[in-house]
């Protein structure tokens, strides 16, 4: 599981995840992911290179979204692959964390 960040201006940071966000992947990125989310106002988590997601990975995403809210920020999930999106919808995560297709949609969610 790899994690990279890109500051794209306008208070928006893109956190790109790559690999399997399973138990091992979630344990690996939990700390740095939470540190980055807490430090930024608007966060788009790019899931396009995440090939697998299970509930411990969702726990990481939900914890990040809660931390972002607590910080008066917002977090969205960007471009999940089909099976990953199915997992998100099966757990109804999409009802509490917006799923967006591109950065312009993310900016609308952020109210920019």
């Amino acid at each position: 599981m790899e994690l990279t960040t890109t500051d794209i201006g306008n208070d928006i940071t893109k956190i790109s995840l790559a690999g399997r966000l399973d138990i091992d992947g979630a344990l690996k990125i939990d700390g740095p992911f939470m540190d980055m989310v807490k430090a930024k106002k608007f966060v788009a988590v790019d899931l396009s290179a995440v090939s697998f997601l299970a509930s411990l990975g969702m726990r990481t995403l939900v914890s990040g979204a809660k931390a972002s809210w607590a910080n008066s920020g917002k977090l969205v999930l960007l471009k999940p692959q089909e099976n990953v999106e199915k997992v998100l919808r099966a757990a109804a995560i999409d009802t509490i964390i917006p799923i967006v297709r591109d950065m312009s949609e993310a900016e609308r969610v952020f109210g920019l």
Partner: protein, 152 residues
């Protein structure tokens, strides 16, 4: 001369019930799916269901009140996984020796009340029900048996 057609195959392997064993078990199922050239969606469904079922055993298989070190020495938490493949379905069976938990009737943790009120974790029940075509539970002499069926 008649050609024998293999229409039924079964794999079985035992794992520790610890969280650290989950990735190895999921990788094993992924390799079976790959050997059988199963479609990606079917392989994914098997993997995600196994991950959720084994994570559930690791997190809830023992009573929180149990003296864990002592119990783990005399009766360690164990998981047995079998994959049964026939022409029209794949059956994934997960057996454990943990405390009773009927996942087929357990309520998925709701997120209806919004982000602020949900607790992270425990989201796997809805995922299993979404990816498996059928889900059955039975209590065994030593623990639990969950059968997830995937139609081909």
């Amino acid at each position: 001369m008649a050609t024998e057609q293999r229409v039924h195959s079964e794999w079985r392997r035992d794992f520790s019930g610890a969280m650290t064993a989950v990735s190895g078990a999921v990788g094993w199922v992924e390799s079976i799916a790959s050997d059988l050239h199963l479609p990606d969606g079917q392989s994914y469904a098997m993997q995600v269901c196994l991950e959720e079922l084994m994570a559930n055993v690791a997190m809830h298989g023992r009573s929180p009140a149990a003296p864990s070190a002592e119990v783990e020495q005399t009766d360690p938490l164990k998981v047995s996984v079998s994959v049964n493949v026939s022409s029209d379905r794949i059956i994934l069976t997960v057996e454990d020796n943990g405390r009773p938990f009927d996942i087929s009737t357990a309520r998925p943790r709701g997120v209806e009340a919004g982000l602020d009120s949900i607790r992270p974790g425990g989201l796997g029940i809805g995922v299993i029900r979404s990816f498996a075509d059928n889900l059955k539970y039975s209590r065994t002499e030593t623990g639990n048996r969950v059968t997830a069926e995937f139609l081909r």
